[in-house]
Amino acid sequence: MREPGGGLRDAYRNLETWLSSTPREDFDRLRQEAELLFRRLGITFTVYGAGDTERLIPFDIIPRVIAAAQWKRIHAGLEQRVRAMNMFLADIYHGRDILRAGVIPEDLVLSNRQFRPEAAGMLPPKGIYVHVAGIDIVRTGDDDFYVLEDNLRTPSGVSYMLENRVIMMRLFPELFAQNRIAPVDHYPEELLNALRAASPAPDPTVVVLTPGPENSAYFEHAFLAEQMGLVLVEGQDLFVANGYVYMRTPAGSQRVDVIYRRIDDDFIDPLALRQDSLLGVPGLLSVYRSGRVALANAIGTGVADDKAVYAFAPDIIRFYLNQEPILQNVPTYLCRRPDDLKYVLANLPELVVKEVHGSGGYGMLIGPAATKSQINDFRKRLQAKPDGYIAQPTLALSTCPTFVKRGIAPRHVDLRPFVLTSAEQVRIVPGGLTRVALEKGSLVVNSSQGGGTKDTWVLDAS
């Protein structure tokens, strides 16, 4: 919220006035009201390993504000990055120019667990691999935006972005009248457009494929399907016949052209991938390979959001677009390189160490916050399997005023904007999901690890 010198960012002027003029009791009441609204709307998520309890993600009523000029820069950076990632995927599953040019070590891609030989040599409809991306970014300095992670498989969280806005508009209509805040509620429409554009056939039938009610993001799957007016299907509702995918309806079998799937590659087709999967559709992959159904996202995108490949993102952008990256990459030490490993082992207390294939904030070490025994444990793991880890310096993440037990205090935040790509265009709804680490000093914002969310305001330039 503040500039490095301590001055107030322009974008926060109106908010500061509001914060200082609103009595503390009002905040308490409003926060309870927000929680009640979330419960009534059933916006919950399931925590793995916690029985079948449904929990609310903590919602902070103080919004995070982004100025128009900054958003413009973020927007351009996201568009550039996702374009490059799509070109990278098309390349490694076809000509592999980037590997022959020696920009990325071949084994890092071809031996990667997320590389799908099944996807090699076929082009998905319209040539798009990543229709929906969720790019996690953080700010350090005034104009220093770093990408923390590219989520190019089945990124979630957009329902919270939409519901947070609905609830803020209900609770604080006067703030929306005073500030020119860019709307976000057209996201489902933009998503539907991107999905329809991916279809191999005209006038497509589009469905949302969910693993089912046991999945932690089921609420979001049902929510998006409803918002787009699409049918929410499970694997058992679909079948393959005569080279096409169909869904079972009482009116007969209906052909399906586009599947917005929220199931991982591994589980999508028990005939071709994991045979023990009950979630997928037998034979789906063969229809996909023949180009008669589009999957969003395509098969095999995970290889591009792998944490080891992440280190090469700036090179990927330079290679395909011949441009300098607009958003920075966090300097990354690849522990597979002997020199990097040596440095990492010597500086563990200052570094963040992540598993190459990990996600959701699990399996990571945050050096400055770790105990001696945790550091020693990771030292052993690194020495045993250096390939499996990367390390990054801890960043001085920006903070945002947040409502906590003792009042309003700064807490670290990140931002996940959602980038929609079709053959015609890249669309990004202004803002995204702001996640906040509710523990003082914590850098972990994942909802599964006690993080919360905020509404994100991009102020209109006009």
Partner: protein, 313 residues
């Protein structure tokens, strides 16, 4: 709509209706047993097992048929798939999978019924009188149907829910009649006082005693009881009324889907037989053979519905 959704709706309708009819059957057994000699009372309670066809499972666990064993087994035993509590549980499970297709009022009614049944056992209902419990089950079923009628969009979801209701009702009424058919056969009827109470109990169990009196203005005659529950279109739990609803639902679905299905033909044929049938002809065949055939055709219709609409994935 997905076939899986249609399947959930169809079974939701069936299980709620079945729970209600089990309560009705238990009620008629209870009323009959009250006025019977002790040895006959055991047979009255035992007749419930004939209706649902689960006598074998019952006798593995119990040696006598009395109020305690039958009500424990048929009302509260989760392991007995034909018990009221098992039906309500499965209705709720189907309802939970339908949260996007039914109204919140429907879900709440269903969920509350399930919650209220949790942990209930024989002792809880024997204290207040059995009839009070049976009435409560019927009321919950009426409430759910009323909430459905008052809140649900009249789309194909509604039709599949209703289809389950009336198919189950046709089956259940026929089974109820079949257990008591020996009472209804004109040749066997002797017209004793006990018989009168048996007929009255049967009519009351399907909410038809008052209707009988209004329609016929005469003492209870077996032939008329059979007519009322088989061929009267204005008697909402009769076989003909159930098939009229099924037939009408199929006309609606046919127009909506622009298709003809085999199940339409079976139901239409059945409805016409009931509509133009005569009691003399049914008695000429014999009531028991008639009901046996009716039950098996209705079960065949159920299978055809599953096939035609791809309900079982």
């Amino acid at each position: 709509m997905l076939s899986r959704t249609a399947d959930n709706l169809y079974w939701l309708g069936r299980y709620i209706e079945r729970a209600e009819n089990i309560a009705r059957m238990l009620d008629v057994a209870h009323r009959s047993a009250l006025i019977s000699r002790k040895d006959v009372a055991a047979a009255d309670w035992g007749s419930v097992l004939g209706i649902t066809g689960i006598a074998e499972a019952f006798f593995q666990r119990f040696s006598v048929t009395d109020d305690r064993s039958i009500i424990s087994f048929m009302a509260f035993d989760h392991n007995n798939w034909s018990s009221i509590s098992a039906c309500v549980r499965r209705a709720r499970e189907n309802g939970r999978a339908l949260r996007g297709s039914i109204t919140s009022e429907m879900w709440e009614s269903l969920n509350e019924t399930w919650l209220m049944l949790q942990g209930k056992k024989y002792e809880d209902v024997s204290a207040n009188g059995f009839s009070q419990f049976f009435d409560w089950v019927k009321e919950r079923s009426h409430l759910f149907r009323g909430v459905t009628f008052g809140t649900m969009l009249r789309d194909d979801c509604y039709h599949f829910l209703r289809l389950g209701t009336f198919l189950e009702r046709a089956d259940n009424t026929a089974r109820l009649l079949d257990v008591k058919y020996h009472l209804l056969h004109p040749a066997d009827a002797v017209g004793g006082v006990v018989d009168y109470y048996q007929w009255a109990a049967l009519l009351r169990s399907v909410s038809a005693l008052r209707a009988y009196k209004q329609l016929y203005h005469e003492a209870i005659v077996p032939r008329r009881v059979a007519e009322l529950l088989i061929l009267r279109e204005d008697m909402p739990r009769s076989l003909r009324a159930s098939y009229r609803e099924i037939d009408a639902l199929f006309v609606e679905l046919g127009q909506r889907y622009h298709r003809e299905y085999e199940c339409f033909r079976i139901a239409g044929d059945m409805y016409r037989r009931l509509r133009y049938g005569r009691m003399e002809d049914i008695f000429a065949v014999g009531l028991h053979p008639f009901l046996t055939e009716f039950i098996s055709r209705t079960s065949r219709l159920g299978e055809q519905i599953v096939d035609d609409f791809q309900l079982a994935a």
